[in-house]
Homo-oligomer: 290 residues x 2
DNA sequence: CATGATGTCTGACTTTAGTCAGGCATATTA
DNA sequence: TAATATGCCTGACTAAAGTCAGACATCATG
């Protein structure tokens, strides 16, 4: 009753019946679940037939028939792939987009009414983020992005917010060195965002300098995604990118209040060096030769 | 991407595929999911056919056929109900128990491997408890129990632990008045435990005294279950029980560090009174006339 | 350009899930 | 005790999901 395994299983049971309810709500639109799922997959931007089949785990025969039924309803059109005419690409027609919007509205209403029923909103959302990240951690993708992109800016906002909470003296971006986006774009550097099923859950910047080294900046992992070794993955990918850019020496600064970060650096081949800038926040400095 | 509704929906997607994986793992035992579910329902102690049907949401014809197929496999036996020969009671045969144990092992392994993959075990479990409680809150049952039962003792242990954390001076049961179990049994009093799908998530004691009143003691709601108005439900049920026992006056003591509790009492018709005992921990005293 | 590989489609299935109308035995009630 | 209700069962269906073999067009390669 009280051991960890029972708690996980209780969660599974609770969630199974909730998921079942969501599925049946999708049946209200007068088409079987299989067809609804295909329609929604297309609506969410999966257009390659093989990709959809793979995502939904369908047999190719079944997939083909479901697509046909959606075509007969006038919701979907399929055309041959540009580069390879054997592959097919599915898109929604105008009617298909309307129908997809109706499913979206259903899902949104369901999610809203779930939230409306519970007073512990923030705690609940944080718990959901944590579990969703844990469940999808194999499917976390690390993508290079522009540091000015929406996802990158979201990560940076969360990062600054967290520094503000963890530093005794608070944190003011303007006091720290300017997070110059230009230096975190190829070919001078790069910016990497970890995405778990559309939600950004971590980031790191590689910032080129003119001093013979590049800096690692703004390593952040969402609280919900800690414990998944995401920091390590982000660092490894950044180092690989740096090598690819011909960078030979990396440096970074951090603060001893961020204990996890310091540990991560020490464990992955970084060595402490004397202060190399006059930024007011950091009190720990590292470097790594590639 | 970042609004609450999207976060809920991301959670739904993550969990849907996890649940699907559990379902398919159940197919490995060579029988359809429907039959496996019935077998497991019986294994978990649901014996009345109507109860199982209701729990699994099955049509009576389908239910009957699934039972037949399990009988044909030699896993289940059904007999007429003692009190009403129209109703049927299903039990597992020896082979059925073996098969049920195999399903249990599958579920346990799945849960264990999920836990083993994640370093944030406690946070993850707490998040799962929270969500499971939120999802099943309509199905929380309040049961009168012996205060010495396993479930009651678990609640009390959690309750004392929490007092220890929230009181500046800590909390030592032995210093407080003895939680005499005898006085929390009928006809002198009672003890109520809130159970959400096998997990105890709250409790309250009604303790008879010889001073013309009864006391409410040990009101506790698990952190994972807060915000569901469970405290109120527990108090209401206790007051009903007290009325049933002919009790006219209720008293309770609490500590101002437990702000939620004080609020709950004030909002539900209790009035503050002067100290009526010399227990070292409480500093707030209430009474309510029934 | 022949050969084999790949991606999709169709036809011909099977299995699973679910529905509905009665039937039968047993209980309840007027 | 006759009428009615209840609980479970069977037969006869339908719908949905899933499987498999082979057809066909297209692509990659020696």
């Amino acid at each position: 009753m009280l051991d960890p395994v029972s708690r996980v299983r209780r969660f599974n049971r609770a969630v199974t019946s909730a998921v079942g309810a969501l599925d049946t709500s999708f049946l209200g639109r007068g088409r079987p679940l299989g067809a609804a799922r295909v329609l929604n997959a297309i609506g969410h931007g999966r257009s390659d037939v093989a990709e959809i089949r793979d995502y939904l785990g369908l047999d190719s025969g079944l997939m083909s028939r479901l697509l046909r039924s959606l075509e007969d309803e006038g919701l979907v059109e399929t055309i041959a792939h540009e580069d390879d005419a054997r592959r097919r690409v599915a898109t929604l027609t105008r009617a298909g987009r309307r129908e997809f919007a109706a499913y979206e509205a259903l899902s949104n209403t369901q999610a809203e009414s779930f939230l409306a029923q519970h007073s512990q909103r923030e705690a609940l959302l944080a718990a959901m983020d944590l579990i969703a990240s844990a469940l999808t951690r194999e499917r976390v993708t690390l993508d290079e992005m522009d540091p000015r992109s929406e996802q990158a800016r979201y990560c940076l906002g969360e990062y600054y917010g967290e520094l503000g909470r963890r530093f005794k003296q608070g944190f003011d971006v303007s006091l720290s060195r300017d997070p110059d986006a230009k230096d975190m774009r190829r070919p001078r550097g790069t910016f990497i965002v970890a995405i778990s099923d559309t939600l950004p859950i971590g980031c790191v910047g590689l910032k080129g300098t003119d001093h013979g080294y590049a800096e690692i900046k703004r390593l952040w992992v969402a609280p919900a995604a800690r414990g998944l070794r995401l920091g390590r993955r982000l660092m490894e990918m950044t180092e690989d990118a740096a090598r690819g850019l011909g960078i030979k020496l990396l440096r970074l600064d951090t603060n001893s209040a961020l204990a996890e970060a310091g540990q991560l650096y020490r464990r992955s081949g970084w060595s402490e060096i004397p202060r190399f800038n006059d930024d007011p926040y950091p009190d720990l400095f590292f470097e790594k030769r590639l």
